[in-house]
Every structure is written in C-alpha cells, then in structure tokens.
Assembly symmetry: C3
Homo-oligomer: 175 residues x 3
C-alpha cells in the first residue's frame, strides 16, 4: 500500500475577495497565527470579530476554516483551567504514543510522528460557520472561537469568508 | 494564572431579523427550550422545520447555534434506547468526577463543577448549518436535530438564521 | 418506552436545484456512493470539486450533508496508514460490542445492531460547510473531504448545496 497522502492542490492560491451584488457581499480574508507549543489553544474571537466589523456586513454568515489537518477550531470558554482540562482530555482520548500506522516508517512517509494530532483534530473539527447580526458576531456570553494547535509550533492560517447583506447606506432598510 | 473566563459581550443583543435584497432573504430568530435534567436530549427538529416554513425561503441555508458552552446540537436518530446509549457514551468518554482543574476552586472561579459538560459539548459541537430546499429542511429519513443539555436543568436558547432565496410570488422561477 | 425512532419525512423529495437572483446562485445536487465494507473511508474531494466547477459559482459556500445517521463526513488526510488509524481509533472510542440498548430487542426495534455506528458518526459529524473562491474549493494542501461509512456496505447519498456569486459574464467584477 502507498505510504503517501493525496494532496489537494488548488490551481491558484485563495486570494482576498470582496464581491457584491444587489446588497449581497461576499468577502474573504486569511488570518495567520504563530503557535509556540506542540499543543496550544489560541483564542481567535477578537480577530474574527474585527474581520466582521471591517466587512460592512450587517446580517449574514461567516465561515472560519483551518487550512491544516492538524489544527482545529471549536467553541468553548476561554479559561486557563479549562484549557488545561481540554489538553488533558485530548491526551486521554487519543494517546500520543499509540501504535499508529501513520507514525510507522514501514507504512507512512510522514516523519512528523503526528497521528495523534490528526485524530484529535478530527474530534474537534476543522471549521465552523457562525452567524452575524447587527454587524456583530452571534456568540453566547461565555463562548469563544478557539483554535487548537495540535502539532506545533507552526505558522497556521485560517481562511475566513463572510457572506451577507450590507444594509447601511443606500440599501439600508427601516428596522 | 487567572481563574476567570473571558466573556464575549455583544454591544447590542441579537434581535430577530428579516432583511431582503433582490429575492435574497436573511431572517433570524431565537428558539428557547427548558430542560429538566442535568443531561437531557431534546429533539429540535419540528421547531426548526416550523421556522423554515414561516421564513418564506425556498432554497438556502439555516444555521442553528447554541448560545451556551455546555449545550450542544448534533444529528442523530430520535429513539429512547439510542438516547440512553448516547448518555452512557458521554459518561464513558468524559468522566463527571475526573480531576478537572475547571472544578477546582484553587484554579477556577466557576462553581458549577461542570468541566465534564464543557468537554462533552466540545465533542458534540455547538452548531450546525443545514440546507433548505423546496421550502423544507434537508434531512435524511432517520435524522433529527437534537440539542444536548449537558449541565441542566436550565433555560437554553438557540439562535437560528435562515439565508436564501424566496422564489414564490413575483420572483418565482419556472421549474 | 417506545422502541421506535421518530422519522423525518419531507413532503417532497429534495430535487436538484438551480436558482438565481441578481448574480446570486443557489444550486443543489445529490452525490451517491457505494460502500463495500462495514467501516470504510471514501474520499469525496474530487466529486465535490467537480460539482463546484460545474456550478459556475466563483465565490460562496458549499454545504455537504450526509443523508444518513450512520454515515459521517469529516476532514483529514487521505493516506492508507492514517485511515487504518482512524478506524482503530473509532473502535477504541466506541466499542462495537458494548451493552448498547439500541442493540437490545427488548428496548429497540432496530435489528441492525449498529449502536456503535450511530455513536461514531456523532463524533465525526454529519455535515460540513466549505468555502468556494476563484471557482474552486478552499482546502488546505493535505485536506480531503472524507465520508465515513460506519454501517455498510450500503448505498449512501450526500446532498450538496452551493450558494454564491456567479461573477463571470455580464456580472463579472474587476479584480
């Protein structure tokens, strides 16, 4: 069996976008973070809220997409103690030192020894689609958008696309 | 280290919305449920289907977002036996009485002792984006949208946003 | 307690769609696969990329929805060794032979003995919403859209909806 992974290759890189028709706006940008540990949780909420603010979209959706297999995004509280628990849980749920074939040179050409990171990211998920209303993110009081670095330290990128209505200005509707 | 969690505070509460441009409709509402047990599964399907019906949207997307960190939404069958299995599985996967720092007053100012609820919700996910076609939800025959109360009893709210095309009336397309 | 599951029944089947207003396109199609093992991972990336290509949408979102409770979709690398690890992990996480009530004729009218498949699908998730930009999917280099058959062999269908802007032709914007 092949030791290699199939690669997804776009023909052109995904550029920043700002398209609009009849009040509908689609806008996309890239968010980059630097991580410093193998497993690290990074709060993306403020950065995403800023992109929403800058988009001019009043009502719509925002997709946040991790461009990596070993980096996830999820919702939870941003508390140091809870983040320690999340890391403990991930260690319990997926053993770093399990007999994973992805870490075995006989079966895999990946030398990162990171099967655990793949499995942990799969559990947490690689993307989410949030709502925008009144030109702000819809999030509960304790909810934060958290990136999970699972095989760092690395530079990690997230593609963010906003799709919605720009109501301010000439298209503004009475409320 | 701080025992507190960072709070997400919108400047204005997320209100009901109904915006439209050139046949595109964006409409958002809040769904509220009361739960009666600490861990409880509530079938939201009919309530969501009713919101779709009332929206006038024929083709589009509907985002369902739990506004809470310890309340999830997921897809599964609605059967009493299976729901008992889901609860057993959540107990196996995340121990209620593990040595979680979030439950330790030395490290956390949260007095709900609910680290398990945070971790279980993280596994199930806090949101989903469904399709609408022919003015109805797209769901498989056995699929139901299920809310997981993981730290009840509580009042729980879900923000629902519908984004799509209204084809009936003057904008109706030939099929 | 009832042994039966509640069924979701659309009034009309979800048909293929192509609707448009002012440059906005909503298009939906069904993707079908045949699986050959009880637990099998199937790479859907090329099939989904082809639907994007055929849609004429330049910027937008694409929702991929498994129409089944025991068939999931998730993101990961497409490597034989890693896929073996994913299957091992699912076996570790949810025991096939656990004392699940869904498999017990005393409590359930399901004779597929597939509680494990329900729980595993719940962990992986039944849907995802991806981004489209420049008329191509947004995916990281190693990311693939993977379907997880968890109770095969079966015929499995996925509903795919694309919502976005068609910019080529008269609506083409300068970049």
């Amino acid at each position: 069996m092949s030791k290699s992974s199939t690669v997804f290759a776009r023909q052109t890189p995904a550029k920043d976008r700002h398209e609009t028709t009849g009040g509908l706006v689609i806008r996309a940008e890239t968010l980059t973070i630097e991580t410093h540990q193998r497993v690290e949780l990074v709060d993306l909420t403020e950065a995403i809220a800023k992109l929403v603010e800058g988009s001019g979209v009043d009502e719509g959706l925002i997709s946040v997409w991790s461009m990596h297999t070993t980096c996830a995004v999820f919702i939870n509280e941003n508390q140091t103690a809870l983040h320690a628990d999340i890391k403990s849980f991930l260690e319990q749920a997926v053993s770093r030192d399990g007999k994973w074939m992805h870490n075995d040179p006989e079966h895999s050409d990946c030398d990162r020894n990171n099967a655990d990171a793949h499995l942990r990211a799969m559990l947490l998920g690689h993307s989410m689609t949030l709502q925008i209303t009144g030109a702000e993110l819809v999030l509960g009081q304790w909810q934060r958008v958290i990136a999970a670095e699972l095989d760092g330290p690395r530079t990690r990128t997230f593609r963010v696309q906003i799709q919605g209505l720009q109501i301010h200005g000439p298209n503004r509707r009475a409320e």
